[in-house]
Amino acid sequence: MTLRDAARKLLEEHKVQGVLGYRKGSLPFRTRPYLFRDPCEIEELVFNPFCGLNLARYLLFLPQEVERVAIVAKGCDGRACVALVRENRLRRENLLILGVPCPGMVDTRKLAEWEGLKEHEVTLRGGEIVVRGVAYPLASFLDASCRRCRYRSPLVYDILVESGEVPSLPQEDTLRELRSLPEEKRWEFFRKELSRCIRCYACRNACPMCYCKECFAESHKPSFLHPSPTLRDNFVFHIGRAMHLAGRCVECGACERACPLRIPIATLFLAVSDTVREHFAFEAGVDVAAPAPFVTYREDDPNAFIR
């Protein structure tokens, strides 16, 4: 059954009051989130490699009358759903996960290198992307988080949509190059990127796991940082947010895609996810029952870094 058929059926049979999905945007290669309420609207439901937004972000912002919702979920979005259920923000029975295997999301900014590119000039063919007749390996066009993705298909789902050929691209260790740099060069990289940030909070607001009513960044008493986008305040914001997302980040990359200045901000959160995975054997949104890494401990937890 195709995605549209499954979604339409759910609405027609009143299994859900809304389907959270993607719709064509007002610009080439852009899609936008939409809450489909009427079966006849489903004609406009799309799923393509330009659907990088994490729809799970909207699960906590639904109109009151939508009690049960279906969500079109890529692997990472599915993880976010599971993580939100585990954190008791959602009831599992009110959520219908419409899983779609994901080929990886194309970095639309890379396409901006071709002037005046039209949508019909870009096609996907297996593990390749064809732009104006020239084929390139798809992996080179994907976002950083997609290149290292471990769960392209949602692990927890209610309906899994069969799709055509979804290329299984190898996982790339996108942080290896950065980690191999000497200390001064690493600081130089982060100092430059953190200085560029204008603190628009697009990254935070696009994240499905950042749902605090009052973010620590907006707290006045106590005040951890000031509104000014100076290096030191940006440092507190991003490292602080990374600590708050430790063990909760689902590695979807929506933050980096949302950034208007193209700062590779996902680097921080992906690195923290790696630490949690390596030392505490925990990945957010993979197992509904697993205890969160920071409400438990082991007596043999790593200790070598402590004097």
């Binding site: 100092r191 951890f224 940082l225 100076t230 440092f235 600590m243 920071f294 937890d301 870094f305």
Partner: protein, 144 residues
């Protein structure tokens, strides 16, 4: 303002072990570098990573967080939870290239000499790194 730069290190010490250890060092007249500024907290587990980041934001050149040895926490498990949080922060700061700015230690109430040794080691480590690199761009709050 002609004196050479001295690192300023904020030390979060848990009341039951590390703070008592520091106190013992003082009472025993054990000398250690005066660069640390102590903040007494109930437990190393109560140290929010944001405190450490705030200290760095305010210009601290280094931060030390010290608690009871694992198994000896006055609140039984506070330092175990702290250990996990601190590992994540430590590896994150390591990625950023700020590895040796933030240090962690387990110092018990009876380890006065050891506390002095830890402070000496941390001070030297931070001194060799130089002033806090986050101070760039700061101009107006530093009135003469």
């Amino acid at each position: 303002m002609n004196s050479p730069w001295e690192p300023k290190i904020v030390a979060f010490l848990c009341h039951w072990c590390s703070y008592a250890g520091a106190d013992l060092a003082g009472v025993s007249r054990i000398q250690y570098p005066p660069n640390i500024r102590v903040v007494r907290v109930p437990c190393s587990g109560s140290v929010d990573p944001l405190y450490i980041l705030k200290a760095l934001r305010e210009g601290a050149d280094g931060v030390l967080v010290s608690g009871c040895h694992p198994g000896d926490c006055h609140y039984l498990s506070g330092n175990y939870f702290a250990r996990r949080k601190f590992l994540v922060l430590h590896e994150l700061l390591d990625l950023l290239g700020l590895r040796d700015r933030v240090h962690f230690s387990w110092v018990s109430a009876s380890e006065g000499q050891r506390f002095a040794d830890v402070v000496k080691a941390v001070t030297e480590a931070v001194r060799s790194l130089g002033p806090n690199p986050l101070r760039e761009g700061e101009s107006t709050c530093d009135a003469p």
